[in-house]
């Protein structure tokens, strides 16, 4: 059972709202498709009107009216303040240290915030071949901080990753800093049970906040490693009416746009 199944809103909505609240006005956010893109745009439509959204397709400072289905939908280019070649995005903007927040999803995360989006089972003989790392390895290295968004279950929050696609705190205990990665690494994992943050010293993720309707025991049970729990676990405010309205309106516009049949071009 998902931690977020409650009548008023879906787990995705709850995670999106929680993630959006963590973004601040004028922050520079490197956005991936899906929930991160929804969260970043929700923040823009609510409390962060001047947030700077960068998509790896080369669109900088974009303000899409509907959520892009792909990372390079036309809407992103038309509303961007600059559209640059993709190699430049990765070299000058991401590696250049210009990104405050990178948002990452994955198939699996471990206790140190390392992510797998590559493969389940052996790499050479996969059980499930996933799309792969894409922009994530270098977002994980260079963004000043990273937020991970992922639904919680023992299959996704695992003791051992099958493959490490992008690095969090590696083996913890300062391993990341020793690796030379410039960014501070994952600073929050937002799930459908609550929020985890890295503990000082060990850099192991621990539960620091939960949704009202979820118990700590449920969150621990939904984790594939013995989840540590902070001394005090905050209660996350449920999605507010305005947050849900704006988010649902955004999704409605997006669904409409995606279902609008595109005439064959010739």
């Amino acid at each position: 059972m998902s931690g977020g199944a409650r009548p008023g809103w879906s787990p995705d909505e709850m995670m999106t709202v929680t993630a959006a609240r963590m973004l601040w006005d004028r922050c520079v956010c490197f956005v991936g498709i899906g929930l991160p893109s929804a969260a970043a745009n929700l923040a823009r439509l609510l409390h962060a009107p001047d947030i700077v959204l960068i998509y790896e397709s080369g669109t900088i400072g974009t303000r899409p009216d509907v959520l892009p289905l792909s990372i390079g939908d036309g809407e992103l280019a038309e509303t961007a303040s600059a559209v640059v070649p993709l190699p430049e995005i990765f070299a000058y903007w991401l590696q250049g240290g210009r990104v405050d927040v990178g948002f990452l999803g994955a198939a699996q995360v471990d206790r140190y915030g390392n992510l797998n989006s590559t493969v389940i089972g052996p790499y050479a003989k996969p059980k499930t071949r996933l799309p792969g790392a894409g922009g994530a390895p270098e977002i994980a290295i260079h963004a000043k901080q990273v937020f991970v968004v992922l639904k919680q279950s023992p299959r996704s929050f695992v003791a051992e990753l099958g493959f490490r696609s992008s690095g969090g705190f590696l083996e913890g205990h300062g391993a990341r800093a020793r690796s030379g990665a410039p960014g501070a690494g994952p600073q929050a994992i937002i799930t459908d049970y609550g929020v985890m943050k890295p503990a000082e010293g060990s850099e192991e993720f621990e539960l620091v906040a939960r949704y009202e309707h979820v118990t700590v025991a449920e969150a621990v049970a939904a984790t594939g490693w013995p989840l540590r729990v902070a001394a005090s676990v905050a209660i996350l405010a449920p999605p507010q009416t305005e947050e849900l309205e704006v988010l649902r309106d955004l999704h409605r516009r997006t669904r409409e746009a995606n279902s609008r049949p595109v005439k064959l071009p010739v």
Partner: protein
């Protein structure tokens, strides 16, 4: 530079076993060229593309390739590239060797290729397992700071194929909008084929516009709509509904093969492909 038909361009310039890059990052993906490669039955291609997308799902499912260099292989915003998965997981329709990178690594490899440097360099791959499964990811030591930086070997395809909005009669090509690593992939290649929406008298290039001059282009073919179901800014939008529909079509080997047989192998060219889709009511 020659202005020619797509069929002639593929016949003359894409050969079995070659390293071929069809680039275009979500925008301007050369689908028509991919279909023509399927029609002409190319085999053993070493495909290169940051985001394999539907175009390589189709080419790999149709048996054109035995190797794939890539950095993200899904159906963007939808889910799996089922044919790519089936090839990697189950060697169907044949084994597919993979050479896997991150986006930043692959972009650096194209930049190195365009620059005719033997390798590209980035502060990348730190803390990832990719170097464990891809021995071509190595490192150099900075001669000033001693820092180790990741390296990737330059990508220099035998042929790069792009789709663009316009060419003029001399073969100068203009691109506008999301650019991906198209220009780099084009300049990195030994031969560069471009399909375009239209051929015009005057490109009307804006200052600092993105142009591939005729003398770096091997052949241009006019194929209106040739990026569908991706898009060509100023001409048509991305057919997101088709990307969603592809999930069903491609999930099953039989359904996929029927689709390729009916619409690609069973049609003479891209206009016929579009006409067949329309005739079947498969698309509006």
């Amino acid at each position: 530079m020659a202005i020619t038909t797509l069929r002639e361009a593929i016949e003359a310039h894409v050969h079995d076993g070659e390293t071929v890059a069809l680039e275009g990052f979500t925008h301007l993906i050369p689908f028509a060229a991919g279909h023509e490669i399927i029609r002409q039955g190319r085999r053993g291609l070493r495909l290169v593309r940051m985001t394999p997308d539907l175009v390589y799902d189709q080419m790999i499912g149709a048996g054109c390739a035995d190797r794939l260099t890539f950095s993200w292989g899904g159906n963007p915003g939808v889910g799996s590239a089922h044919r790519v998965r089936d090839a990697i997981e189950n060697a169907w329709p044949g084994p597919l060797a993979i050479n896997e990178h991150s986006h930043a690594g692959m972009a650096a490899a194209y930049v190195a290729g365009a620059s005719r440097l033997p390798f590209g360099m980035l502060r990348g791959y730190l803390g990832t397992d990719l170097p464990l499964v891809n021995a071509s990811i190595r490192s150099v030591t900075c001669p000033y700071t001693g820092e180790q930086l990741a390296t990737v070997p330059a990508l220099n395809p035998d042929v790069t194929i792009l789709h663009a909005q316009k060419a003029d009669r001399a073969g100068n090509v203009l691109l506008a909008g999301i650019l991906g690593a198209q220009k780099e992939a084009g300049l990195a290649a030994k031969r560069l084929l471009v399909t375009v929406e239209e051929i015009v008298e005057d490109l009307g290039t804006p200052m600092n516009g993105i142009v591939l001059p005729h003398w770096v282009v091997t052949a241009v073919a006019c194929v209106p709509g040739g990026a569908w179901p991706s898009y060509a800014r100023g001409y048509y939008s991305r057919d997101n509904a088709f990307y969603i529909a592809w999930d069903e079509i491609s999930r099953d080997r039989t359904a996929f093969t029927a689709w390729i047989d009916r619409y690609v192998r069973g049609t003479a060219d891209f206009p016929a492909f579009i006409a067949a889709l329309r005739a079947d009511g498969a698309r509006p």
